[in-house]
């Protein structure tokens, strides 16, 4: 690991999908890259601009190469750079980093996925995993919300989630929108509309921190155990591997101890403003 931990590998962009306004999925192909686990992230490097932590939103093999998807919203230097590249462009990638979602441990249980906005990106590998191992899990609930119908990610795929056996997908948008016939309100409201068996459900949440907090409260009220609720935290990360110190949240280094934590692990800190 000590060999060249901070050197980005050169990756070639093999596909691009415009998902939503300002959001784009970039598929890069890499050789000799460790297979990422659901919930892990990479540091994406744009020469001259810097690095940004980006979740891995999909992984598959193509020949001897690993294709990894990063779904990126343009907000600043590095993320905007990724909107002006094309197929064949090269970017730097290092990773995969962090502790991802515990899925194996949830075998035999019902799974609840709650995603807000860009937060669906790191959750998608769980859905992939369940599809590939459908008999190992009970029910699958997918709750997903975005500000407007345009902001929904993976649009062509969302409709197909309903075809996953023994699953329920519910989608919300924040405010009424012309032509939208689905639910209007916060994604966390949808928790009230599903039939949860709290004793046998594991929940996986990713989205803005306020949304995750509301989701946690609702799920605790519904009787889920703190160690069966998982959230993926976002912090400013400069190294991704536990040396720069800037991602600290309480005594955790979010980059290496997380980004995924159980609510049980976070309970002490989650409600403390600016900890």
């Amino acid at each position: 690991m000590l060999a060249k931990p901070l050197t980005p590998l050169l990756a070639t962009v093999v596909d691009l999908i415009d998902e939503a306004p300002l959001v784009r999925t970039i598929y890069v192909a890499l050789r000799d890259f460790p297979e990422p686990a659901p919930g892990q992230f990479n540091m994406v490097y744009a020469k001259g601009l810097g690095e940004a932590p980006i979740s891995i939103s999909d992984v598959f093999r193509k020949g001897d190469r690993l294709v990894i998807a990063h779904t990126i919203r343009s907000v600043g230097a590095v993320t905007k750079y990724t909107t002006c590249i094309g197929v064949g462009s090269q970017i730097g990638i290092r990773g995969p980093y962090g502790r991802g979602w515990p899925i194996e441990e949830a075998k035999g249980m019902d799974l609840l996925i709650v995603g807000g906005g860009i937060g669906l990106a790191p959750l998608r590998p769980i859905i992939r995993y369940v599809e590939a191992h459908r008999d190992s899990f009970g029910k699958l609930f997918i709750l997903y919300g975005a500000r407007t119908p345009h902001d929904l990610l993976f649009k062509s795929e969302l409709g197909k989630y309903a075809n996953i056996p023994n699953s329920i997908t519910k989608i919300s948008i924040d405010k009424p929108y012309e032509g939208w016939t689905g639910y209007v309100g916060f994604v966390t409201d949808l928790i009230n509309y599903i039939d949860l068996d709290p004793g046998r459900t594991a929940a996986y949440i990713c989205g803005p921190e306020v949304m995750m907090k509301v989701a946690v409260r609702r799920l605790i009220n519904r009787g889920l155990k703190p160690d069966k609720i998982f959230l993926s935290l976002e912090r400013r990360m400069r190294c991704g591997m536990g040396v720069c110190g800037t991602c600290q949240f309480g005594h955790y280094f979010v980059c290496k101890d997380g980004p995924v934590f159980s609510y049980g692990e976070l309970m002490k800190y989650l409600w403390v403003d600016g900890i």
Binding site: T7, K47, T79, G242, V243, G245, H251, D273, G274
Partner: protein
């Protein structure tokens, strides 16, 4: 203080320094006091060590005096991290064609000379975070072959190592420790190499009187550096205080968020990375120290993780006392007092801790 101790003179300290380079072929690194200025660097002889100068320290005040100095030097703002984890460091060179090369850290084989017990301890804290994880630190740290510590007979007004068990004497992790008493110098080996080195100095076994003077000096130094509430009770108080924004706003009222404390703290290790682009489109990836007290530390596109100053000050304190023990098994404050001296407002961490302690206990 169990091992056999020896006594000699200041000349033996000089001889020890020479042995490190002549016998062990090491580069001797320590604080140098040359042309009335202090800096880390290679010590060519004992005359360059700050042995005849005193640092007069108080909250927000630092003065070096020679005239009438007790000759008791403790420290200045550069801690060991200047040497092991420099303020700015090259990390990568990225070519125009995106080829990359990692920067190398090659310090040669080094002896640290005359470092203080508190700074020795800070290396353990750094090790816990960075050793075998950060390639540059790991390489710099591995270059240290010998550590010679000077124990503190007369701590400064800002020193509080005695509250934390990190000083005023050294207990482990060194090769030789020495302490300058009124008419002699006592030496203590901390390793077998240390014992061998001392045998070459012709120092003799410390007499009972010398040992008595040494123990008394250390005892007094310990007393003068006990300045914090009892640590378990303090920890409980800090734990309880965590959610009280009001209390932390109050205790951080003097802080302006300049981050000086982070820079001088021997255990603050946070860094940030950035690219410097050259005209030929190649880039150097650098990293430099960054402090949790500064505004940009937790700033992100569309938000801030610690928007208020009290949150940043609270993190500084809680990290040292509550979070480090979880992260590396040690309290992250070594009691050197640099943050007190070099704070432009004289914010005193000892007062902060007492204030929190009294408010919640």
């Amino acid at each position: 203080m169990m091992s056999m101790m020896y006594e000699g003179s200041i000349r033996d300290v000089g001889k020890l320094l020479s042995l490190l380079s002549s016998l062990l072929n090491l580069k001797v690194i320590g604080l140098r006091y040359v042309n009335k200025s202090l800096s880390y660097g290679e010590l060519n002889s004992i005359d360059e060590a700050p042995l005849n100068v005193e640092d007069v320290q108080a909250p927000s005040s630092y003065k070096l005096v020679e005239e009438g100095a007790s000759g008791r030097f403790r420290h200045s703002f550069p801690s060991l991290k200047y040497f092991l984890y420099p303020p700015v460091q090259d990390v990568l060179y990225i070519g125009r064609d995106f080829s990359s090369r990692e920067a190398k850290v090659d310090l040669g084989d080094v002896a640290l000379f005359g470092i203080k017990p508190c700074d020795l301890h800070s290396m353990k804290v750094f090790d816990g975070i960075l050793m075998n994880r950060d390639p540059y630190y790991t390489s710099a740290r591995s270059s240290i072959k010998i550590v010679v510590v000077e124990e503190c007979v007369k701590p400064s007004k800002v020193c509080f190592c005695g509250s934390l068990g990190t000083g005023p004497w050294a207990s482990d992790g060194f090769d030789v420790a020495f302490a300058r008493l009124s008419n002699s110098v006592v030496f203590k080996p901390g390793s077998s190499i240390g014992s061998d080195l001392l045998k070459r100095l012709n120092v003799k076994r410390a007499s009972d009187e010398t040992m008595y003077e040494y123990r008394e000096a250390m005892d007094n130094a310990l007393k003068s550096t006990k300045a914090l509430p009892e640590l378990t009770a303090l920890n409980n108080a800090l734990e309880k205080s965590m959610g009280s924004g009001e209390l932390w706003t109050k205790v951080s009222r003097k802080c302006v968020g300049c981050s000086n404390c982070n820079m001088v703290c021997p255990t603050c290790f946070c860094t940030e990375f950035f690219d410097e682009v050259e005209l030929d489109e190649s880039a150097v990836r650098l990293r430099k120290w960054h402090g949790c007290l500064s505004y940009s530390y937790g700033l992100v596109a569309g938000g801030h993780f610690r928007p208020k100053l009290y949150m940043r000050y609270r993190h500084f304190i809680l990290h040292k006392f509550l979070f480090y023990p979880n992260q590396v098994g040690l309290i992250g404050c070594v009691g050197c007092g640099r943050c007190i001296t070099w704070c432009p407002l004289g914010v005193d961490i000892r007062e902060t801790l007492w204030e929190v302690f009294k408010s919640v206990s």
